[in-house]
Subunit: 174 residues, 2 copies
Amino acid sequence: MTVILGIDPGSRVTGYGLVRDTGRGCDYVASGCIRTGSGELHERLQAVYRGISQIVTAYNPITVGVERVFMARNADSALKLGQARGAAIVALAEHGLELAEYTATQVKQAIAGSGGADKHQVQLMVMHLLRLQQKPQLDASDALAIALCHAHHRQSLKPHGLLGMQRRAGRSRF
Amino acid sequence: MTVILGIDPGSRVTGYGLVRDTGRGCDYVASGCIRTGSGELHERLQAVYRGISQIVTAYNPITVGVERVFMARNADSALKLGQARGAAIVALAEHGLELAEYTATQVKQAIAGSGGADKHQVQLMVMHLLRLQQKPQLDASDALAIALCHAHHRQSLKPHGLLGMQRRAGRSRF
């Protein structure tokens, strides 16, 4: 069974979600938010880097999905988001994890069947697919949706839909 | 004597420059470029992270100046630049280094006396101030200019211009 991590980086809050792919669906493992606080820039980026590093150490995911930024609002917010993404992705790379990127539209399409679904519809589908009794926080829910989307894409890449995880030299290919 | 690092992060090339502040001026120590290559995103960001980490280990700078992005060209380039900055700043933070940020205008003002100086004028002033016989590469020259700007600002913050480096718990304040 394969633990899959989903990451939704943000300049203030980075959501994370972990699911276990059983081959017949996914179980919930954990989710939450890394809040970067109000410190200096290097302290905020270090909070993202260390938070991701701790999650990888604690749950040992074999592969990671990260939200791809399709279109940032403006150059200033894109720079801030980029800095948080850089800190998160370096932490994943330092743990030998490769990552797959998905746009928000791809995630919504995979989870809710429509690229136009809103955050609350995604949240409800995440609850349904993972049989959750309580609503996760929105940022954590988005990260779980990314993990589920990544599980879905990995599944569809497998020959005949069979489970055949290939882990090579500490790296996963998908 | 204090080694000061200047960093000019970029999505393709990150320039670095090191100078030694003698209290009566600065001596050249080293400079160069970290090229991120054409690999996957996480490999490129890891190249920045590891490159910066190796430079800090090799030269043990006590403080760092980084170019601040005042206005990015567009959201897409801002995101890419932000990712490289995030990787570089996390590497500095993981070594316990605090950093000062300077806009390109501040750097030009400090080095060439005018915020409107072009890259080649900055390069010539860097050569003059550090008594270099050969032109450094442009990216490395910009990073050396940032290091010199940071040395200048630290000097002006000291009481009566005396050398009084305060290093606390592995961190420098300036």
